[in-house]
């Protein structure tokens, strides 16, 4: 059986991937668009399968979404295809995905990787209780499945993403007991010069703020959920006021009853595929590991283009812009891949993102919220004490060595959830600066059954072939 062959394979059908596919189609390329979900949109435009309208009021940029889907329609769509790795061959790439328990192989001359990101988490006592959700998790339940994570919900962490989460929960009838923003967004004002060119992004935030005001949701800055309480599921949280370093101000703690919380501390880009291909990476201003790209979004590996959060967390508008550039360049139209207007816009959005990361950065004081036995790695149930001991007693220096000594990050999720915080705890214990490069290593992008892996001949998906 022949492998399906395309000029361009786009991985990820969120904002960046849809834009990449649309641009590559427009440039005349044959395009495969691959995503593990059963509908396009990614996390940003998440919706129930086949029913965007049901949650359209919770979304921004619906017109852009519909237009991108229409323009990407001529591509061959491989939805519900979980890519587990990509191989580089002489003049092409082979994307290996799983669908319905069989392996599908899709070959392409060039790649656009738009894998997106997931919520960054920091541990706190009780954070593994059922009822504690990531902000994106509460949002996915709501937008993807029309399910409320709870009736009485606290929203906490840092970053502009907390606003749409709280606004959406309120709009669908949950009682949001508060939004607890650990940083002080007043600092935005000091950065007016970077913010003004993309003032539309502020209007977006203002819309959510109005919703919160309408539902009388308190918005507390320099506050955080520092502990979760309950026996078999969440019953209450401790909220406290923080100093500038995020240490709890003594006496400011209060306990709030709630049955769910949604917490997020920025985002972590999904880098498994770029790492498996050997793309060069760097540490971004928010401490995330991201892919190095050139003016046309090309990585250090020829013909591998990357767009969106994997190049630095910057939001959907930036992802769409980068996806358009990457898609066109990947289709071989390098000369017209980027206009000076796009270049200016990308610079403005990146500058805005840099300010966002600065204002909403993680301050190390969160580590003082942990008790010795607070679980840091949820999969392997590794407490903070063991990570600190790995540095003090065993000679670990960073996330990578702490992980191998303690098994933090060695479980099912492979450190996607705890990797960043393990690295931060180890760095603090070792008295060194945090470096996410220690987290980089080529592995697989998704678990694979050994039986499937062993079947040497990959099956092929004929129905979706062009």
């Amino acid at each position: 059986m022949a492998t399906s062959r395309y000029d361009v394979a786009v991985i990820g059908a969120g904002p960046g991937g849809l834009a990449g596919a649309a641009a590559a189609v427009r440039a005349g390329a044959s395009v495969a668009l691959i995503d593990s979900a059963s509908q396009p949109g990614g996390q940003y435009w998440r919706h129930p399968s086949g029913d965007y309208a049901a949650v359209a009021d919770l979304h921004q940029g619906t017109a852009a979404y519909r237009s991108l889907v229409r323009r990407a329609a001529p591509a061959a769509w491989f939805l519900q295809h979980q890519v587990w790795t990509i191989e580089r061959e002489k003049n092409s790439f082979v994307v290996r995905a799983m669908a319905d328990g069989v392996e599908v192989e899709i070959a392409a001359a060039a790649l656009v990787l738009a894998p997106g990101a997931f919520d960054r988490q920091v541990p706190f006592p009780g954070w593994d209780l059922p009822g504690v959700y990531t902000a994106g998790g509460a949002q996915a339940l709501l937008k993807g499945h029309q399910v409320l994570a709870g009736r009485r919900i606290a929203v906490g962490g840092t970053g502009p993403f907390l606003l749409p989460v709280a606004a959406g929960l309120s709009a669908r009838g949950a009682e949001v007991v508060g939004v607890f923003e650990a940083n002080s967004p007043r600092r935005w004002v000091r950065q007016a010069r970077s913010v003004l060119p993309v003032v539309g992004k502020l209007a977006e935030g203002a819309g959510y703020a109005a919703t919160l005001l309408r539902h009388r949701v308190p918005y507390r800055v320099r506050h955080a959920v520092v502990a979760a309480h309950g026996t078999d599921s969440l019953a209450a949280v401790t909220v406290a006021r923080l100093d500038a370093h995020w240490r709890v101000i003594a006496g400011s703690e209060r306990v709030i009853d709630c049955d769910a919380i949604a917490v997020g501390w920025g985002f972590t880009p999904q880098l498994e595929l770029p790492l498996a291909l050997g793309c060069e990476t760097r540490a971004d201003v928010d401490g995330s590991l991201v892919v190095c790209v050139d003016d046309l979004q090309q990585s250090s590996v020829e013909s591998v283009y990357v767009a969106g959060e994997a190049c630095g967390v910057g939001g959907a508008q930036l992802a769409v812009l980068e996806g358009s550039i990457a898609g066109r360049a990947a289709a071989g139209d390098a000369a017209r891949a980027i206009s000076s207007r796009q270049r200016r816009r990308r610079r403005a959005l990146r500058a805005f993102a840099a300010v966002m990361h600065e204002v909403h950065s993680l301050r190390d004081g969160w580590q003082s919220w942990l008790s010795d036995d607070t679980v840091v790695c949820r999969c392997e149930e590794v407490p903070a004490r063991e990570i600190r001991a790995a540095v003090g007693e065993l000679g670990a220096l960073d996330a990578r060595s702490a992980k191998r000594f303690t098994r933090a990050g060695m479980g099912w999720c492979q450190g996607r959830v705890c990797g960043h915080s393990t690295g931060r705890i180890a760095a603090t214990a070792a008295g060194r600066s945090f470096d996410p490069l220690g987290l980089a290593g080529p592995s697989i992008a998704s678990p694979v059954p050994l039986g499937l892996l062993a079947r040497a001949q990959a099956a092929h998906h004929l129905t979706t072939e062009r």
Binding site: E393, F405, I444, L450, G451, L453, A454
Partner: protein, 377 residues
């Protein structure tokens, strides 16, 4: 800081063992590593202490000495998951069974404890093993440790006895007086010492080069598949008889032979592959497929099990498959302890003891001439 007697370059398992035995011999030791403890090949290994995969000869002698030392270290130091669980070698074809029987007989004459296992007895050892196998051999002396913890505990114990361990410190040059090596130059200053031990693993050839001598240590890449956590499905180290031939071959091309074992933390580890591809760090799908298929042939139940991770390491490999241990006559003051290929964890204890004996100027427990650094000409 008082001047050390010995600087050990490398905080992997071999450097840790050298430091521990040298400290115990009364020497002042400083260990330097550009990274963390066990940050190189040690951290990528399975932690095997094997006699079963070695035909009679100097390497088997080294392994037998090491096996005794490891069981003593497990008593004395503790905390590194020493498991004397035994190894089971199995054969799927009459030819490989004949080869295994002959090897086992030769090993028995060399003092290895080995028991023949008939095909209908295999299930007593491993209930999930394929019923199609023709027979095997059980080696009760094979054991396993958690290699990173072993290195860390040895270094910690050495530190308590006065050794110094400096991490994140890279050796940029060796201090020299003519041909003689008199210490190391690091990013944070010079350290003068009467002797320098090169335990830099796959980078050992580079350290040797700093002294103007050639020691051909090359990387031989190996992949390991890691499964989801399971109950104790695989009890011993289990591998196919073909593995012994693969280990001993010198081909640059890819070889794979199944090696399967459980771990105390739950995941099953699946090896083994060897290929000489330099320091290529990309994932190789054909290798992963071959390892998965071979592991399922041994343990069909693994077909329904999920791989959650695949990673690689680089074995420090010498052309004749023997390690390099002892003083280098071409560069007085420099000793080598490396090139153990895939057996570094197992052979580390004996290597550390022998290096300490050389450093102390006493007699060695074993003849070191097969391991002499200048043998490659």
């Amino acid at each position: 800081m008082t001047r050390p007697d010995v600087v050990v370059i490398g905080a992997g398992i071999v450097g840790a063992a050298c430091a521990w035995f040298a400290t115990r011999a009364g020497l002042r030791v400083t260990v330097v590593d550009r990274g963390a403890v066990a940050g190189g090949t040690t951290g990528a290994g399975e932690g095997n202490l094997l006699v079963s995969d070695k035909p009679p000869g100097p390497e088997l002698q080294l392994a037998q000495l090491s096996a005794r030392l490891w069981s003593e270290l497990a008593q004395e130091i503790r905390g590194f998951e020493y498991e004397p669980k035994g190894g089971l070698v199995v054969a799927a074809t009459p030819a490989s069974l004949d080869g295994l029987v002959a090897l086992a007989e030769a090993q028995r004459r060399a003092g290895v404890d080995v028991r023949a296992v008939a095909s209908d007895e295999l299930a007593d050892y491993e209930p999930w093993l394929s019923r199609k196998l023709l027979g095997g051999a059980f080696y009760p002396q094979d054991a396993q440790v958690q290699p990173m913890l072993a290195a860390a505990r040895l270094l910690r114990s050495a530190r308590m006895a006065g050794a110094e361990v400096r991490l994140g410190v890279e050796v940029g040059a060796l201090l020299r007086d003519g041909d003689r090596v008199t210490g190391v130059r690091t990013g944070t200053g010079d350290i003068a010492a009467a002797a320098v031990v090169n335990a830099a693993g796959v980078w050992g050839g580079e350290i040797a080069g700093m002294a103007g001598v050639k020691v051909p240590i090359l990387p031989r890449r190996g992949f390991i598949l890691v499964t989801e956590p399971l109950p104790p499905v695989v009890r011993h180290k289990v591998y196919a008889a073909e593995y012994v031939a693969d280990v001993a071959s010198s081909g640059a091309g890819l070889q794979t032979s199944p090696v399967v074992e459980g771990t105390p933390s739950g995941p099953v580890l699946i090896g083994s592959s060897r290929e000489r591809v330099g320091f290529d760090r990309t994932l190789s799908v054909p290798v992963l497929r071959a390892l998965a298929a071979q592991a399922i042939e041994l343990f069909p139940v693994l077909a329904e099990v999920v791989m959650i991770r695949a990673y690689h390491g680089f074995r420090p490999y010498c052309p004749d498959h023997l390690p390099v241990i002892g003083a280098d006559p071409r560069a007085p003051g420099l000793l080598h302890a490396g090139g153990h290929e895939g057996a570094g964890i197992g052979l580390a204890a004996a290597t550390g003891l022998l290096v300490a004996q050389v450093l102390s100027g006493g007699a060695t427990d074993m003849d070191l001439s097969p391991f002499r650094p200048e043998r490659f000409g």
